[in-house]
Structures are given as structure tokens and as C-alpha cells.
Symmetry: C2
Subunit: 371 residues, 2 copies
């Protein structure tokens, strides 16, 4: 065995994430590692917190990045907010609602599923029916932007409904954060998680989360310990929270956080509203290009995510062969379908740094060349 250094090809990443990472962020990752208790590093973490509060549009004190990918951010929300026996309403309209159910059950909760077709938004009426039918439910969980289908749900309305029936809310914004309007405080979202590798265009491996006071109070009032030591917010907060003193909990992923910091600085420089508008504009350009080729979108126009475009694979086309040609002839990655949509759709991401006109044109012309 003699393995040598790895030099990756440079792809254009237009799948469901990771998205293309800018050279600025890549370079930030390569800065000298600091100790995780170094005052200089702690100052940077305070900035990450402020920048995440801006990006989430929240004043929540409990706002930080879980030291692991989005799946762990999801688990952080569920493991902290659920106690054994809790009834949780989970809205499912794609793969990630199913993963939420897994989380509820593994935390000892009971999941009540509210099902919508894959590619549709979550139906508020069905949620209300479930809330009426299960007055003992304590939590409602749903996905704002379903990465598996490209559909966006009306988070504001769903959260309002949950609150009317005295439920807290957990909202998955892995794909929506910084790509499409999201107002955590204005909408009243109680617990939220996202990922670093979608519209933030930081390398994968971190999960921004935020919890409001109601959620924090529920966590402090638990009568059982959180089943995960690593994700126990009562412990993690000793490290991220408060002023000044940071207690040791686990060793933070220092260089990855440099990357997230730089990516968030770039969001702030552009301005959130401008970032949302850019995602929308590039989506419309992509739509024109694809529709001119006769390619159809899976999701209704009013629920389409601008940053994740699920399109029907044309009749008679070999899914895997086309994606392989795009990858090997054009260094272009687009996404396959997932779960119920495997083999039926492609997912074209226009996320974060990758959402630009050059990519739109490159994708359309490459697809035209191979089809």
C-alpha cells in the first residue's frame, strides 16, 4: 500500500448539496488551527453566533452550529425537545419527513404522520385535522424546503396552527436558509436546524440551529436526561452560550468553523434580501432554459424552491448514464431522485455560491448536449 495525496477534480456542483464553495471560504478553512478555548477562537465563535442570528432573522440567544452535519442538527432538535411518551405530529411530503419520524420514535416519542404527496407542499388543513384529533400532541415538525422534491411549504401558517393548539415546532430549513425568505422570530419558529453545505455554500459538516425561549424552557424543564451526551443542549450551552467563560464540552471543529464564518460574512456582505432575489432570478433563468427544451418541473409553480429544481426525466432517457456523462464530460454534478422519486426526477441545485447565471447557462447547454 502506498497512498498519496488526494487532488480532487474541480466540479460544478449543481446537485442537492454540497454546493460549490467559493475560493474565499476554501482558503479560510486552511488558516492555522487554534485551540478551541483560545480567546481568539471564542471571539470568532461569538461572531458566528451574530451572523447566524442575522441569517436566521432571530434574536434567539441559543443560536449556534452543531459540530456535525444537518442530520445531527435534526437529531439535536428532536433529542432535546422530546421526552419518552411525547406525541409528535410529523408532516411528511418527502424523504426528510420520514427521517423526522425515525427521530421521534428513537427518542421514545409517538409520531402521528400527516402525509402529503411527494412534490406537494404540506397541507395546513391536514395538519389542523391532526391537531384536533390529537389534543395531547406537544410538538409539530415539518420540512420548510424538501430537498428530496424541491417543494416549499408555508412555514408561517404551519407554525401559527401548531401554536393555536399549544404545540412547539421543529422546522427543517436545511435547504431554505439563505436561499428563500425565512424569518424565525416573525414566524415564531421554536426550534430550527439547517446545514452548512446548501445555500450558505460552506463545506458540509456543520448544522446551524436556533431555539427560542419556549424551546429552551422546555429543555431546562426536562425530567429525563437528553439521550445523547454529545447533543445535550444543557451541556453544549456551557460552551457556546453566555458571555466570556466557555466550559469545555467537546473539541469544536475549528477549521470548519472558519469556513462557516467566512461564508456567513459573504451572506452579510450581499444582504439576505439580495441573496433571496438572486436565487429567485437564477431559478427563473433556469426555468426558461429547461422549458425551451421541453423539460417539465415536478412541483407546482407556487411551491417551487428556487434553489432546488426537481425536473422530470424525459421519457426513454437513461437516468444514470446521463448523469455520468455530465460528470465525466462536463465535470458537472446534478442530483438523482431520492426515495419515491428515484429514477423519475433530476434535482438541479442553484444554491448559494453556485446560484449564478454562468452555472445556469452551463447546465442548460450541457444537458442539451447530452440529451
Amino acid at each position: 500500500m502506498q497512498i498519496t495525496s488526494f487532488h480532487p477534480p474541480r466540479r460544478t456542483l449543481m446537485g442537492p448539496g454540497p454546493s460549490d464553495v467559493s475560493d474565499r471560504v476554501l482558503e479560510a478553512m486552511s488558516r492555522p488551527t487554534l485551540g478551541h478555548l483560545d480567546p481568539a477562537f471564542i471571539g470568532m465563535m461569538d461572531e458566528v453566533k451574530s451572523l447566524l442570528q442575522y441569517t436566521f432573522q432571530t434574536q434567539n440567544e441559543l443560536t449556534f452550529a452543531v459540530s456535525a452535519p444537518g442530520s445531527a442538527g435534526m437529531e439535536c432538535c428532536f433529542a432535546n425537545l422530546i421526552e419518552p411518551g411525547d406525541r409528535v405530529i410529523v408532516c411528511q411530503n418527502g424523504v426528510f419527513g420520514g427521517r423526522m419520524r425515525e427521530n421521534v420514535e428513537r427518542c421514545g416519542g409517538t409520531a402521528v404522520m400527516v402525509e402529503d404527496a411527494w412534490g406537494s407542499a404540506v397541507d395546513p388543513d391536514k395538519l389542523e385535522d391532526a391537531l384536533k384529533a390529537h389534543p395531547d400532541a406537544v410538538l409539530v415538525a415539518f420540512v420548510h424546503a424538501e430537498t428530496s422534491t424541491g417543494a416549499q411549504s408555508d412555514a408561517k401558517t404551519l407554525v401559527q396552527l401548531a401554536h393555536q393548539y399549544d404545540c412547539l415546532t421543529i422546522v427543517d430549513t436545511v435547504t431554505s436558509l439563505a436561499g428563500t425568505p425565512l424569518y424565525v422570530d416573525e414566524w415564531g419558529i421554536d426550534a430550527i436546524y439547517s446545514g452548512s453545505q446548501k445555500c450558505l455554500s460552506a463545506p458540509p459538516g456543520l448544522s446551524p440551529v436556533s431555539f427560542n425561549q419556549r424551546a429552551a424552557d422546555k429543555i431546562s424543564a426536562r425530567t429525563t436526561k437528553v439521550q445523547s451526551w454529545f447533543l445535550d443542549l444543557n451541556l453544549v450551552m456551557g460552551y457556546w452560550g453566555g458571555e466570556g467563560k466557555r466550559a469545555y464540552h467537546h473539541t469544536a471543529p475549528v477549521n470548519s468553523l472558519y469556513g462557516l464564518h467566512e461564508a456567513l460574512v459573504m451572506v452579510q456582505e450581499e444582504g439576505l434580501e439580495n441573496a433571496w432575489a438572486r436565487h429567485r432570478d437564477n431559478h427563473l433563468e433556469l426555468r426558461h432554459g429547461l422549458e425551451a427544451m421541453g423539460i417539465e418541473f415536478v412541483v407546482d409553480p407556487q411551491h417551487r424552491l428556487p434553489q432546488l429544481n426537481a425536473i422530470a426525466i424525459p421519457e426513454g432517457v437513461d437516468d444514470a448514464a446521463i448523469r455520468s456523462r455530465l460528470l465525466h464530460e462536463f465535470d458537472l454534478e446534478i442530483g438523482a431522485g431520492l426515495g419515491a422519486l428515484a429514477g423519475k426526477v433530476w434535482r438541479i441545485g442553484l444554491m448559494g455560491h453556485a446560484s449564478n447565471l454562468k452555472n445556469v447557462e452551463f447546465c442548460v447547454s450541457s444537458l442539451r448536449a447530452v440529451l
Copy 2:
């Protein structure tokens, strides 16, 4: 708010980790991000697996890096191997044995504690007494190299004992991997975890783990689901294991894995035995320098870790003030005491890339200057 790019100072990291990361590894982190299902990335993951097998000295198929820090690697071992009601013997001689107990209990197991003084090795006789007293125990867990005290235990003997009493073993090698002799297969260790940021000198955020067939069989034969979806090895293995096809589980931390790959290539280039010898030699140099200043070690010579030197803070010296001066005047980080040893000891790391003669001399002369 206007937050700008973060430019860390360049420290010399001689605490308990993270250790200094070489420019080669830092540069590797900044290479272009690939999709986590890209064939080029999957090829690199196969190499990471081979390199980890070499570093752990194992042929275990189930060898990979958990996408989160060492604490999550610990939790991965416990959550997968413990089912509710299992009795687990935990040997504690420092902070991390206590964290193991937390893990056992949060997984629904019962922990039997075998206590040794902080700074001592785990006493095999005490373990045997506990094994005799608790014939229903199914698992023994201990720390090979206690990062909180600098003491090394006799892993080979402890594992042998556990096996005589039909227990599987979980061994913490966060600080020992690549710094001091470790033979997973020869010693028969069943489940093992480590960290990227100690003697591997990769950035923090990944946890190498390995499981032998007995451990894998116990996991497959579980009658209850692993409580963590993110860490469930039955699911993770679809991504890391087997040949060719990788099922999507979670998005791997792509750039961090570039860094780990490069760090492991460097271990392979040097050769494990040479790396162990280098750690020992530099430890002896440090010892000479410190003893010449009248500074005493906390751990008996035969149980001292070469990569983590716990020394008694001299009488009348202000712990925090001295560490602060080292940091601000010399850009030198050494570690504080943890838990029962807080305020009583300093921990000087000579780990991985940071274990070199220049650092030894710099540390001794800087300490002499401020004391």
C-alpha cells in the same frame, strides 16, 4: 454589525489538542469540494479506510471516520453496542471514564464503576474483581490514554481479562492513536474510537472508529433500534462499507476528510513505529528540560504518555496568569488541568506534527522565561 473575515494568529499548540496542523494538511482542506457521492470522493474514502486500518493496525472491515468529534465517536460505540438493561463495567481514572458512564446510562445501560486515582493507570486486579462480582456484565470500557491526566493503561491486559469473562470491549484511544503503540487486532479490541486532532494532527471534527466482527455481530443482532439515527451503524455502513455502491445516509464532511486523508498519508510516509519513537524521544527531551527546572511529573514513569505530559504547577504560581502570558507573549498554548486536576497541573502536549525538538526547546525556554 459589520463582521469581517477572520484571520487567526499562528499559535504553537502544545495543549491536550488540537495539536499543530501541518501546512500540507491545512492546504488539503482548501481543495475544491466534491459531492459526497462523487466516484472520485468515494475512491478517497476507500483510501481513508485503508489508511485508518493501517494506523489502527487492524483488518476490520468496519473502520471509518464518524462525521463528528471524538465525543460523537465515543457515543457511536456505546449507542450501538449497548441495549437497554445491559450491564457495563467502566474503568475510570480521569475525566473521560466519567463521560463513558454518562454514555452508558443515557443508552439505558447500568454502569459498574471501577475507580482508580487520577494519574494512575487502570488496575487490572480491580477490573477482574468487578468481572467476578458481575457475571452478567456484557461490556468493559476503558480509556487507553487518559487525556485529562497523561496516564496510559495496559490495554492488552485489560482486553484479555474482559474476554476471559465474555465481555466485549470499548477502548478510548483519542490521545494514543499514532502516538504510542496500539495494535487493535493483536490485542483483540472489539470497538475503538479516536479523534482527528491529537497525534494525527488533522483538524478537529472527525472521529476514527473501528469494530471487529464480534462487535458487528452484536450490532446486527440488536433487538432494539440504536437510539441515534445519525450514529446507527446499520445505516452508516451503507455509506462507508462494502464495495462500490454507496447509499446516501448523511452528507459527509468532505473537506475535513481531505484533511484527515492527508494527515494519514503523512503517518504512512513516516511509518507508525517511527512516529511512536519520535513521540517517545521528544517526551524524554521535554522531561530533561522540565526536570532541570525542578518541575515534577504527575504520572509514574512507567505509565506516562509521551504525547501528553501532566506536570505539577509549582507552589505559589498563578496557573491562569502563566498560561495567559505564554499565549499572549509567546503564542504558545499549553493545557490547563481538567476536573479533579484543575488548578493543580498543566498539560503539555507533544502530539503528532507538534512533537518535534523545536517545540520542546521553545516550550522549555518560554516556561523558564515566565516562571
